[in-house]
């Protein structure tokens, strides 16, 4: 009897999140199932219309990606539209294998498999994730992460977001230590016509979006877009405003020229301008332009050459981190078959970053300006050991980093496709994070002077995964990992020097965990997707010089996390969608980051009438406010949105 009485409390505290995820059938994985098309609709379509139906759904494409055996999850345009997300980081909250925490009105901490570093000023030092927007890296060499506050794309025009948790060093380059996010926009051919959308609400004050897609002839397509956000401040626990309201205006274009069946030329560019914070706002502006030439001979043989230029500017007289960054990047990639059992992908890249830091009395970077060239090359061989059954993929990236020199990032991945419903895969890989200017050049008076001897952070990752599609309506994936990290960034001390502390690479870590995700078409009009992630982290120091607690600069992560999205079509063209999230406590010594466990949910109710869609969205409805990362209280909020598509 005593046992039974004790059980519930234990149960609730530890086992409940795990148990729920096992009992509830529909979590888990974020691929789109091949939904059945309505027969009546299909037979009434004209030939031209039939030829315009996409038949390779994202799931098939990602299955192709999955052949290289990695923990990939994909969210589609529909998943995003049906969630009520208005910005990119909100869309990323839908991906079960990402840890996404809102640290302020415009500030986000986003990582995979842990390592959301402590925020410094408004930047969170999560630096082990690589993020590409249509092939353009949004990596910032200042701190090695992403300034999520300024990353906005028109969500309407996103095709899908692919998230690989685990190292992707071989194909994707440096800093894909814990994962890669690929944001892939629709081609301009897929975004023909006019889209107009406006929203107004309590936290999201207002949003406006406009896009027009047209064509010059049957081979040249284009679109132009413009969007604007105004978002209110978060509050602090004492009731005062966090003064982090912001606004942003962004526009851009994309054009695709289908020169022939094989050759496509894409040109795209964006500009943005925004103000962050109410008192003495930080001014941000950016411009980028990208050109890509792709030649496709067959599924396994293609060539792509890409060049882009990106300029990011950030300035605030009183804040830290004023930056003027120019990035030039040239990449090519070629894939071909060697015999009928091997497919080779190889390529190379050159990146030149010209970074200027506006120094202040509290923080400066020596030298203020740096020109940072990075050369890289990669080769990967996919070998069919047993046709359609067993595939081995081996490869390596070769990187010549500006700070640390030449390095290899090898990986080996084995996929066993048991039958068309099941794949089991295993991988061992090494990936590196190259030093950022923060590691190398930072001068904080009285605390650190530039080391200029930062080392590559290294991870060796062991992964095992299982993917199951028992019926076309259910996709389940399970991935587990063990990571060993060397040379992690640390703060060390030496009592005989002045200042007494310095940046070093004396932190070590091992992490393990698992990611469970799925997508379940419960019935024709109801789909569930989501996942559960467990993460365990253990840190230790290479020597006695390390300042105790240094790991909080690297890692403030929840152990358990659950994401669940329900997408439901109601009669009379109504839609009712819910996103629920549970995030475990951030057990950290940094009281400023500490956040208790929370569970909350968003609700979206929409009605479609011909070309017009009206939606009412409530976000974070469970509590009046909650904290996710640091002091900013994320409020319960609502907004109404009207969207027209012509």
């Amino acid at each position: 009897m005593l046992l039974i009485n004790m059980a519930p409390s234990l149960f609730v505290r530890r086992a409940l999140p795990i148990l729920i995820s096992i009992l509830m059938p529909g979590w888990i994985f974020s691929q789109v199932s091949d939904s059945l098309l309505s027969i009546q609709k299909l037979k009434n379509l004209s030939l031209d219309e039939l030829m315009n139906i996409e038949v390779i759904s994202v799931s098939r494409q990602s299955e192709k990606l999955a052949e290289v055996a990695s923990a990939i999850q994909v969210i589609t345009n529909e998943d995003i539209q049906r969630s009520g997300a208005t910005r990119l980081p909100e869309a990323l909250q839908l991906v079960p294998n990402l840890q996404v925490a809102q640290a302020g009105s415009a500030s986000w901490a986003i990582t995979a498999r842990g390592f959301n570093g402590a925020p410094i000023s408004s930047l969170t030092l999560a630096n082990k994730l690589l993020v590409n927007v249509d092939g353009r890296s949004i990596y910032n060499p200042l701190f090695g992460g992403v300034q999520w506050g300024v990353q906005n794309v028109l969500l309407e025009d996103i095709n899908r977001i692919e998230v690989v948790s685990g190292p992707g060093g071989t194909l994707w380059g440096a800093n894909a230590v814990n994962g890669i996010i690929n944001i892939i926009s629709k081609s301009s051919k897929e975004t023909q016509g006019l889209y107009v959308s406006g929203a107004a609400g309590s936290f999201l004050q207002d949003f406006g979006g406009l896009r027009y897609g047209g064509h010059v002839d049957s081979n040249i397509f284009y679109r132009v877009y413009l969007q604007r956000y105004d978002q209110n401040s978060t509050d602090l626990a004492n009731g005062l405003s966090n003064k982090d309201a912001w606004n942003m205006t962004q526009g851009g274009f994309r054009s695709d020229y289908y020169q022939s069946k094989r050759n496509t030329l894409t040109l795209e560019g964006d500009f943005s301008e925004g103000y962050y914070g109410t008192a003495d706002p930080t001014k941000i502006n950016s411009q980028d332009i990208l050109a890509r030439f792709a030649q496709v001979y067959s599924e396994k043989s293609n060539l792509s050459i890409q060049v882009y230029f990106d300029h990011d500017y950030r300035n605030s007289p009183s804040q830290l981190f004023n930056q003027d960054l120019k990035t030039f990047d040239l990449d090519f990639q070629h894939s071909f078959s060697l015999g009928n059992k091997q497919s080779i992908v190889w390529g190379g890249g050159y990146r030149l970053m010209n970074d200027y830091e506006g120094n202040s009395a509290y923080l400066s970077f020596i030298p203020a300006s740096r020109e940072i060239p990075i050369y890289s090359a990669f080769v990967q061989d996919g070998i069919e050991l047993l046709p359609k059954l067993l595939k081995l993929t081996v490869g390596t990236k070769l990187l010549d980093d500006f700070y640390t020199g030449f390095d290899l990032q090898p990986s080996a991945r084995l996929a066993w496709t048991k039958d068309e419903h099941q794949t089991i895969w295993a991988a061992v890989s090494q990936a590196v994070r190259t030093p950022s200017r923060w590691d190398e050049d930072a001068l904080i008076p009285g605390i650190v002077v530039p080391t200029q001897s930062a080392k590559l952070e290294k991870v060796i990752a062991y992964e095992l995964g299982y993917r199951l599609t028992p019926t076309p309506k259910l996709l389940v994936s399970f991935a587990t990992f063990y990571n060993h990290y060397d040379n992690l960034f640390s703060l060390d001390y030496n009592l005989n020097t002045n200042p007494k502390t310095y940046f070093a690479n004396d932190l070590l870590a091992e992490t393990w965990g698992f990611e469970f995700s799925g997508n379940y078409q419960v019935m024709e009009k109801w789909r569930l997707r989501g996942g559960y992630t467990y993460l365990s982290e253990n840190f230790w120091y290479a020597n006695a010089n390390v300042v105790p607690g240094t790991e909080l600069l690297e890692s403030n992560d929840p152990k358990n996390q659950i994401t669940l999205q329900s997408i439901l079509d109601l009669p009379r063209n109504f839609q009712f969608d819910v996103v629920g999230r549970y995030v475990d406590v951030l057990e950290t010594k940094a009281v400023t980051i500490l956040a208790p466990a929370y569970a909350t949910f968003d609700v979206r109710l929409a009605h479609q009438f011909k070309q017009v869609e009206v939606a009412l969205v409530g976000k974070n409805l469970a509590q009046s406010t909650h904290t996710e990362f640091g002091a900013a209280e994320i409020p319960r909020s609502i907004f109404a949105k009207i969207t027209c598509r012509f």
Binding site: I39, L42, K43
Partner: protein, 185 residues
């Protein structure tokens, strides 16, 4: 009795579990074959057969499938209740070449080029519109080949073959056909 009942329940559960995990034949066709089924229905409307092939109004226009059926019941659902120029539509399944009876459209689910060539050659003279999606389908003498380009279903047409079988393919269909697919060298 109670024990028996429990056993029965366990057995039922086990059975349901096994069923749901091992029935690829019963799963609905994927999107690709749903759309291809709709194309087959469309082909029936845009191809003209010689009068001898469909002598009477009551003669059904038969869409045959040779080899494993990738459409499930989808093709039947699409054509159900439809008529083309007064002819009702009918789907027939053939496991082997010998079983192929009178049909107007034949979907050949055969990938092996050698076998494909033999089958197509032996169908000559029967005014059958041959459709398939094997990479070598056109080279082996097939008339309409599906392929996937830009994630969408496209098709190429071998007009000479169709003409030689006295089939008239409408100009609309010809206009939408691609001259070559990625599988053609």
């Amino acid at each position: 009795m109670q024990v028996l009942k429990t056993k029965f329940h366990t057995g039922l559960l086990l059975f349901l579990l096994l069923c749901s995990w091992s029935m690829p034949a019963q799963t609905p066709p994927n999107r690709e074959y749903q759309v291809k089924a709709a194309f087959l229905f469309n082909f029936a409307q845009f191809v003209e057969w010689p009068p001898a092939a469909l002598p009477e109004l009551s003669t059904p226009l038969v869409i045959g499938i040779l080899g494993e059926d990738p459409f499930g019941s989808y093709l039947e659902a699409i054509i159900s209740g439809e008529k083309i120029n007064g002819h009702p539509l009918k789907v027939e399944h053939y496991r082997s070449l010998e079983e192929v009876k009178t049909c107007q459209i034949l979907f050949l689910n055969i990938t092996e080029p050698k076998k494909l060539g033999q089958v197509i050659a032996s169908l000559k003279g029967r005014t059958i519109l041959t459709v398939g999606d094997a990479p070598d389908f056109i080279q082996e003498g097939g008339m309409i080949r599906f392929f996937i380009g830009n994630n969408k279903i496209q098709f190429q047409i071998n007009q000479e073959e169709a003409k030689s079988q006295r089939l008239i393919i409408s100009s609309k269909l010809l206009r939408l056909a691609k001259t070559e697919g990625p599988g053609k060298k």
